[in-house]
Symmetry: C2
Subunit: 320 residues, 2 copies
């Protein structure tokens, strides 16, 4: 049985995993989930990326939106607003609240985030092993300029959801990452993997944050197995979200080739770019990363499964 490790953010990672499960239904898939987007709101611990993976693979996602629960209602949020308690810009539904209540209660009782995630997945049966990158607190902050030109750091969710990345990001800092340890099972899964995949997730605030946890980047580089990524940039624009904004903050051009070079040949063995970016293939290969141009739009599960098959095929080419 093929053992596949995937580093996943939220929507992009979750959709890719749907395709991967369809392409390789018998594979043993371990997902290392980004927790840098986590936020405390209303006294509750919210893990948007872990939940998006869990809901998507467990059949509970709002398919159209890509995050949050299907058939959702917003009674609790409306009541909180009636108490004057916000923020109102973060959309938490009643069904979703239950997840955060269970998580917060278990964390308060002393369980680790990875133990809590396992407990939540016992209900959702995502068909993969989902592990947070770390049980320690890591919080991605974004440095922005305020109206007077003064720099200040805000939580990633405030930048992404409230501001819709509408102002320039000067820096992206995964606060606490340098002190964090990989969660139990993370390094073991990487060490036991046959293939490691980077889905078309945000290279800075999703995959990049996972790689910022000391030991994870090194374990992947030293695993001695093919590491293949899929470009989140198609035709010089992000497929989903506003990845170009945070790429600029780390000095990386928003192109498929620049993202590959950002990961680097020390980490990445193979890279898929979209067919519209086939001109980028030579420059990626020059950087020592095997590259193929294939359709990379996750329009439906079958198209996404084909992307996963291409990634696994490229991995076998690299191995040979």
């Amino acid at each position: 049985m093929q053992r596949i490790v995937v580093l996943a953010g939220g929507v992009g990672g979750a959709r890719f995993l749907q395709g991967l499960k369809s392409a390789a239904p018998d594979a043993d898939v371990t997902v290392i989930g980004n927790t840098g987007d986590d936020i405390h709101l209303f006294g509750l611990k919210i893990c948007p990326d872990l939940d998006t993976v869990m809901y998507t693979l467990g059949g509970g996602i709002n398919e159209k939106q890509g995050w949050g629960r299907a058939e959702e209602s917003f009674t609790v949020k409306a009541e909180l607003a009636d108490y004057g308690v916000g923020p109102e810009w973060f959309g938490l539904g009643d069904r979703d609240f239950a997840t955060h209540i269970v998580r917060t209660q278990m964390l308060g009782a002393g369980y680790s985030l990875s133990a809590v995630t396992e407990a939540l997945c016992a209900r959702w049966q995502p068909g993969v092993r989902l592990i947070p990158m770390t049980d320690d607190r890591v919080e991605t902050h974004v440095a922005v300029s305020d109206g007077e030109g003064e720099r200040r750091a805000i939580h990633f969710q405030e930048y992404w959801v409230r501001l819709r990345a509408s102002v320039d990001a000067h820096a992206v800092v995964p606060v606490g990452a340098d002190q964090a340890q990989p969660a139990p099972g993370v390094l073991e899964a990487i060490g036991d993997a046959d293939v490691i995949l980077f889905p078309p997730s945000n290279p800075v605030v999703s995959v990049g944050t996972i790689l910022a946890v000391p030991g994870i980047r090194e374990a992947i580089a030293d695993a001695g197995v093919p590491v293949v990524g899929l470009s989140p940039i198609v035709g010089d624009a992000p497929v989903h979200g506003m990845a170009d904004k945070v790429l600029a903050a780390v000095g990386v051009e928003a192109t498929a080739a620049a993202v590959a070079r950002h990961y680097g040949s020390g980490l990445l063995d193979g890279w898929l770019v979209d067919t519209v970016d086939s001109a980028a293939v030579p420059s990626v290969e020059e950087a020592g990363i095997r590259c193929r141009a294939v359709p990379l739009m996750m329009t439906d599960v079958e198209a996404t499964a084909q992307m996963a098959r291409e990634a696994l095929t490229l991995a076998e080419e690299v191995r040979a």
Copy 2:
């Protein structure tokens, strides 16, 4: 302006307060609320009696049921059950959850329960000053016999809501009360009162728990103003709930006269019994407590307002 202090439990206390506000709309009413029924569920702090008073006077109560929110839904609870997280016997609706989320968040941020209660009341505008009896943790436990005849102590809510008081209570203990201090404002309100009223609330687990906080009973006895109560027992049965069960646990007969004697003339100056219990009047007066028989069924706000007027009239008789 007449200053009235009321010691209130849940449903009975809240309904009486509706009548009192109607009878004495210009009075300055301070409600000292029972917190012995408080319980932690799902990691959230729930204060059923404070909320029942707040929702009832603020127009948000489920009128028919007497507790919980009007137009309530139960999405969060159903989701929690899908996670296998209970208990299911405690009925928390989505609107109600928001209250507990705000309260728990504020307590976690270091606010006292009395400060939190004031903040919640800023929304509900109950028209009274609602103060919890204490900011310290007090939890009423009930000693029951299990199937093998072994005694064990369970939380009051488990006894009352889950078991519906269907087994005998051997003892009722307000755990933590002996170490508790009256919340800020409680003793001052009693000291400044013109009249102190005991509504037809449970004399053991509602009014009795408030009186168990050191300093409160003494302050009432020493206030030097009329203290008048209304019997929660009519025709030898509790008007609401299962008060007879917990009265038995403290060795008090479930009669209007026995409850008056249980409070005692050291505390109580006047006592109202229902007209069906007019035969009890002489024995209450023999115990040194002025007693009148008047209709005591809180069938609607006007009937309840009349009860409040009778209590205030009896207070003036006592004073004269």
